[in-house]
Amino acid sequence: MKNMQGFKTAQASSQLYCHSSFLLRGNDGNRNPTTGFCDLGDLHHSSAVFHQEAGVDLGSSSMFSVKSSNVVGDSNMQYGTLSTNVGSSQIGSSGGGCMDTGLQLMYHKGVSMQTLPLGNGHVDNWADSGIVDNSQQTDDTSTDIDTDDRIQCNRVKNGSRMLMQSKDQTKVKPEDQKTLRRLAQNREAAKKSRLRKKAYVQQLENSRVKLVQLEQELQRARQQGILIGTEGNQGHLAVGNGALAFDMEYAHWVDEHQHLLNDLRLAVNSQMSDDELHILVEGVRVHYNELFTLKRIGAKADIFHILHGTWKTPVERRFMWLGGFRSSELLKIIKDHLEPLTEQQLLDICNLQKSSLQSEDALEKGMEALEQYLVETLSSTSLGPTGNGNVADYMDQMALAMAKLGELEGLLHQADLLKQHYLRQLQRILTVRQTARAFLVQNDFISRLRALSSLWLARPRE
């Protein structure tokens, strides 16, 4: 009943719909253009119609022909205000159905009343045309109008009252029954359409809220340094997922590793037996294997993400070689912390250092060979302004280059295997306590690199 509230939302849109076309394009597809209001129009015609019979055959398109006269439009807009409370009110039951549908139409299109200067010219015309006598019939609708809308409805009230009275005064002719039925159907359709629109808008609002939440999450995650794939592009999205998954798994692994090493530290400082210490040390070494498995999976998903090392902190990245630390570097770091070493142990450590270095260099040369191959393949004859580029050649180049990129995974895997062998050999050469100390020193160094990265990133800049 109090549809004025709904009408107020319609007022938000500042569009004046004066065209006939908009009425023809009813919200409901089933709306026959000839039913309901075809054209906003000539109030002269309408007034005449209303004057004759309540069951106005609004189907006649000539009735409301749009002259695009603002006054006409304005007055018709006034009906929009009526529609809100006229629409589902008792007037529909009487012969006012014809008015309802048209007014509802205008309501659908979000007709705004705010921009309407209420021309009361036509109202006066109506008065002149004799439709209206000044009987102050107290409809519910008129009371509604009185109580609800403030400014613009004042004029409209008069018009509506006049309209209602005109309808009441006319008889209902038999052929108007059909019209009434049709108009009632229109009304129903309009109502359904309104409800659908409401539901759709609600859905949109929910999605919008969800979108805002997701964006906030993304922002938070980005701040934590996790690499997010670029938005929009589907291909990049797939890549981003692999990288993101690896980053999260790696962060998790780092946490676990810290816990294991803390336990090891406590054990070393306490007077634990060698056997028990051995179990802990072995646990740490096995945990490294988990990391290599993670990296293998990550390399399959996105090899360049692993190679690029965004998942490491900036300072760590400087020391990164082929996806991780060089074993020879780590050995250099821990060597001084391992005394006392026996002669044999010293010899073995030196051999380990040498063999690690040689293997690392070999893999590095392999990487260089790969890069050289890419350069040679992609810069062959077809390049340059004088080269007559052959599509087949280009495709061959790409195929070769693609095959070569597949070998990156193998190189990365070998580098990780090197690390694995190094850790195992370390455990063989050293005593349990020495191995434990070696792992702790190694990890302390890496932790300090991470701390340095955080400090560096958080430093105050002038």
Binding site: Q358, E407, Q425
Partner: protein, 133 residues
């Protein structure tokens, strides 16, 4: 009856022929492997093979390298090597590089590196006469 035997026989003949070819190449591979102290079967374009070659050269070993992509029977040799390695699982990965030291099969890059880091590669090389001191 008569007709059924024919295609079966033809298929069997083909199989035997292929096998003998492979056997030939297998023999050839083994023969080549025992000709030098260190023998590497590789491909000229493979970067892992390049790494392997550099590893041995860096240690002071002078390996004999057979480039399979420059050999007319290269494909068969590759298949023979695959069977030697027992690589039933990983057929998509490259077979080469494969190393023989002292005529005995060592294996692929990961085995070589494992031996090297654990310190057993150098004694093996010395034993085969590829390294002195």
């Amino acid at each position: 009856m008569h007709y059924q035997v024919e295609p079966a026989a033809a298929a069997w003949n083909y199989l035997i022929r292929v096998r003998t070819m492979e056997e030939d190449q297998m023999e050839r591979v083994v023969r080549l492997a025992s000709q030098s102290a260190v023998v590497i079967f590789s491909m000229s374009s493979c970067c892992m093979c390049h790494a392997m070659k550099r590893l041995f050269c860096g240690m002071g070993v002078n390996p004999t390298v057979h480039e399979l992509d420059q050999d007319p029977k290269g494909k068969d040799m590759e298949r023979a090597l695959m069977r030697l390695l027992g690589n039933g699982i990983n057929t998509t990965a490259a077979v080469v590089p494969v190393v023989f030291i002292g005529g005995k099969l060592v294996g692929s890059m990961d085995r070589v590196l494992a031996f090297h880091i654990s310190g057993t590669l150098v004694p093996l090389l010395k034993q085969a006469g590829a390294l002195w001191l």
